[in-house]
C-alpha cells in the first residue's frame, strides 16, 4: 500500500521534466543562427543578467524579453554559464521549473584606456624617457588625450570633470 501511495508523486514530479528533456534533445539539431547573431544575443542576455544585479533574473523572462524561443534562451544561458559569466540555479516558479540566472562576473570598465595608443603601439617596448621613442615626443599620446577630454566635455554627465581652463 505504501509503495502504491509513493508512486503518484514521483510520476507527478517527472511530468514537468519530460518536456524539458525534449527541448534539450532539440538543441542538438543544427542551429540556423549565424555565429555573429549568437554572439550578439549572448551579449544581450549577459547585459540583461548584469543589469538585474545580484538578485538575478529568470531564464524564462529573458527569452520572453528578447523574443527568443525557450530553446534558444536556454542554449544562450548555458553558453554563458560554461564561460563562467553567470550562475544558473534551478527554481520552481508558478509550478514550472525554470532557472534563475545571476551574474558571477561583472564586465570590467576599460573605456578610459580603450583608445590609448600605447596598447597597440609597435614602439611600446622601446618607449622610455631615455629611449629613442619617448612619451615626450610621442605624436599619438597628445591628440588622443585632447580628443578624449573634448569627447568627455561634450557629454553632459562628465562635463564637470573636465577642467575649466
Amino acid at each position: 500500500m505504501t509503495k502504491a501511495k509513493a508512486k503518484p508523486p514521483k510520476a507527478a514530479k517527472k511530468q514537468p521534466r519530460q518536456p524539458r528533456q525534449k527541448k534539450e534533445s532539440e538543441g542538438s539539431q543544427p542551429v540556423e543562427r549565424t555565429e555573429e547573431e549568437l554572439v550578439d544575443l549572448t551579449s544581450r542576455v549577459y547585459k540583461l543578467v548584469v543589469e538585474r544585479g545580484r538578485d538575478g533574473v529568470l531564464q524564462s523572462e529573458i527569452w520572453k524579453e528578447l523574443g527568443l524561443t525557450s530553446r534558444d534562451g536556454s542554449r544562450l544561458a548555458i553558453r554563458l554559464e560554461r564561460r563562467g559569466l553567470i550562475g544558473r540555479v534551478k527554481v520552481l516558479e508558478d509550478g514550472r521549473w525554470t532557472y534563475k540566472l545571476t551574474p558571477l562576473r561583472f564586465p570590467t570598465d576599460m573605456t578610459s584606456i580603450e583608445k590609448a595608443p600605447c596598447i597597440v603601439c609597435q614602439y611600446e617596448p622601446k618607449c622610455s624617457i631615455e629611449g629613442e621613442v619617448s612619451p615626450y615626443v610621442c605624436p599619438w599620446i597628445g591628440p588622443w588625450v585632447v580628443q578624449e577630454a573634448m569627447a568627455a566635455g561634450s557629454r553632459p554627465d562628465e562635463a564637470e570633470a573636465v577642467p575649466a581652463r
Binding site: V39, D40, S43, R44, Y46, K47, V50, R79, R82, R83, G84, L85, R105, P107, T108, M110, S112, I113, E114, A116, C118, I119, V120, C127, I129, S134, P135, Y136, V137, C138, I141, G142, V145, V146, E148, A149, M150, A152, A161, V162, P163, R165
Partner: protein
C-alpha cells in the same frame, strides 16, 4: 563589433588586436584547450592569423599553451587556454603604464616652451632647439612661432586625474 557586454578576456583581446583577436578569444572561451587548427576551423580565420593572435596573447600572458603529442599524427601540438584571471591585472598594468607616460609628458609640457612653423609634417621644437635654429624651421625654413599648449596640458591633467581615480578604486 559590439563588445560592451562581453567577457573581459574578449574585450582585452579586441583592444590588442581588433576583430580577428576577438574571434580567436571567443573561440578559446567556447573550446578550452583547443589547438590552433581547431580555432582556425571554428572561426574561419586563416591558420596564420590565428597563430599570430595566439602568440601575441601568449606573449602578454593572457593565454597558456600546453605541448601535447597529437595522437593521430604523432607530432607535438599546443593546446591553448585562456587565462581569464590575468585580464584584470593586464588592464591595471596598462592603466599604470599609460598614467606614467601621461605624467612624464605633462611634466615635459610644463617645463618647456614649444615652437612650430605651421607645416603639419614638421616637428615641434623646444625653445632651445628653436633658438639654435634662429627661429627658422630647419625642414621648411618657415619662421617658428610659439605654440600654445594650454589645451594639451589641461587634457593631460584631466586624463591623469581620471586614471588616478580608477586605479585608487
Amino acid at each position: 563589433m559590439k563588445i560592451e557586454y562581453e567577457d573581459t578576456f574578449v574585450k582585452v583581446a579586441g583592444l590588442i588586436g581588433g576583430p580577428d583577436y576577438i574571434r580567436v578569444a571567443r573561440a578559446l572561451l567556447n573550446n578550452e584547450n583547443a589547438t590552433d587548427e581547431e580555432i582556425a576551423s571554428a572561426t574561419g580565420l586563416k591558420i596564420k592569423t590565428v597563430r599570430k593572435a595566439l602568440y601575441d596573447l601568449f606573449g602578454r600572458s593572457l593565454i597558456t599553451g600546453v605541448r601535447v603529442r597529437d595522437p593521430k599524427r604523432g607530432w607535438f601540438v599546443y593546446r591553448w587556454k585562456a587565462q581569464r584571471d590575468q585580464t584584470d591585472g593586464f588592464i591595471q598594468t596598462q592603466r599604470r603604464k599609460v598614467l606614467n607616460r601621461l605624467k612624464q609628458r605633462l611634466e615635459y609640457e610644463e617645463m618647456h616652451e614649444f615652437y612650430h612653423c605651421g607645416t603639419p609634417t614638421c616637428l615641434t621644437r623646444t625653445f632651445e632647439d628653436a633658438m639654435e635654429n634662429f627661429f627658422k624651421c630647419p625642414t621648411c625654413a618657415k619662421p617658428l612661432n610659439r605654440m600654445d599648449n594650454a589645451e594639451l596640458k589641461d587634457a593631460l591633467r584631466w586624463k591623469i586625474n581620471q586614471l588616478d581615480e580608477e586605479l585608487a578604486k
